[in-house]
């Protein structure tokens, strides 16, 4: 099953709407609550990153019986140094983002901690793509 969401740049009122919608779907699919939390926390961090840093983007969520894959694709400045961006505490967030309670340089690390696999690809001046994979336990 595939679910897609568009993410607006700079709209902090709507930041989290996609993650909230997807959380409701995962609940309906009877996914374990602890796994839902890992999925939506990492998706929400990624969603906030798009709102905060990019010129907009989309989230594509694929669910099958073995895993949930979340692909966050943005159009924006890109990340010049991914290794540096992954360091706890490193942030390029604006004052506005910090006012919203984010921008402490913890987001990517938190996504990594919640995901079974995280792949980040980025091109400066073009955009960034995050692929988050969370495995689902085998039924039965």
């Amino acid at each position: 099953m595939r679910f897609e969401y568009n993410i607006e740049s700079g709209n902090f009122t709507k930041a989290g709407d996609a993650s909230s919608s997807f959380k409701k779907i995962l609940k309906q699919l009877n996914v374990d609550p602890q796994i839902i939390k890992r999925i939506v926390v990492s998706m929400y961090e990624g969603e906030v990153n798009i709102v905060a840093h990019a010129n907009g983007g989309k989230v594509i969520c694929d669910v099958d019986t073995s895993r949930v894959q979340i692909k966050l694709v943005d159009v924006g400045p890109g990340i010049p140094d991914i290794e540096k961006a992954m360091q706890a505490g490193y942030s390029t967030a604006s004052a506005k983002v910090r006012e919203m309670g984010f921008g402490a340089g913890m987001g990517l690390q938190n996504i990594k901690n919640n995901a079974d696999n995280l792949i980040i690809s980025s091109k400066v001046g073009v955009g960034t793509t995050l692929e988050i994979i969370v495995n689902l336990p085998k039924a039965g």
């Binding site: 902090f12 009122t13 930041a15 989290g16 993650s19 909230s20 959380k23 609550p33 939390k37 939506v40 926390v41 929400y44 961090e45 906030v48 006012e99 919203m100 309670g101 984010f102 921008g103 402490a104 913890m106 987001g107 938190n110 901690n113």
Partner: protein, 114 residues
């Protein structure tokens, strides 16, 4: 400790979730930084925060946090209250500082997350 008791000892006003005050809280986390809140994995948690915007509630929704006390005399906005009600989140408002609020709850036996 029940939310009802917490409201009493903090002299806090319940803004939404009046019917859920029998809910039990076992631990408290205090932060204005939502990225920090998103790292917490605890059940029966109470969040103390002075951050008043819609992302406080969104973060709580994602983290399965059902109980919030706004400190420093901060007031919940109408959009925060609406989203909290939708997610069965209780919001209380108290006039004490984060430090004082934390101290009172700690003195009354509520544990930190770490």
């Amino acid at each position: 400790m029940k939310l009802r008791e917490i409201a009493t000892i903090l002299n806090a006003e319940v803004v939404c979730g009046h019917t859920k005050l029998e809910r039990e809280v076992e631990a408290v986390f205090a932060s204005d930084l939502m990225s920090d809140v998103l790292t917490i994995d605890s059940e029966k948690l109470l969040l103390l925060t002075g951050l008043v915007n819609i992302q406080t509630i969104r973060t709580s929704e994602m983290s399965d946090i059902k109980n919030i006390v706004l400190v420093r005399n901060k007031k919940a906005t109408p959009d925060m209250i609406a989203l909290a009600e939708e997610n069965r989140i209780v919001i209380m408002q108290c006039s004490y500082s984060m430090y004082k609020t934390s101290g009172i709850l700690f003195q009354n036996g509520l544990n930190p997350v770490y």
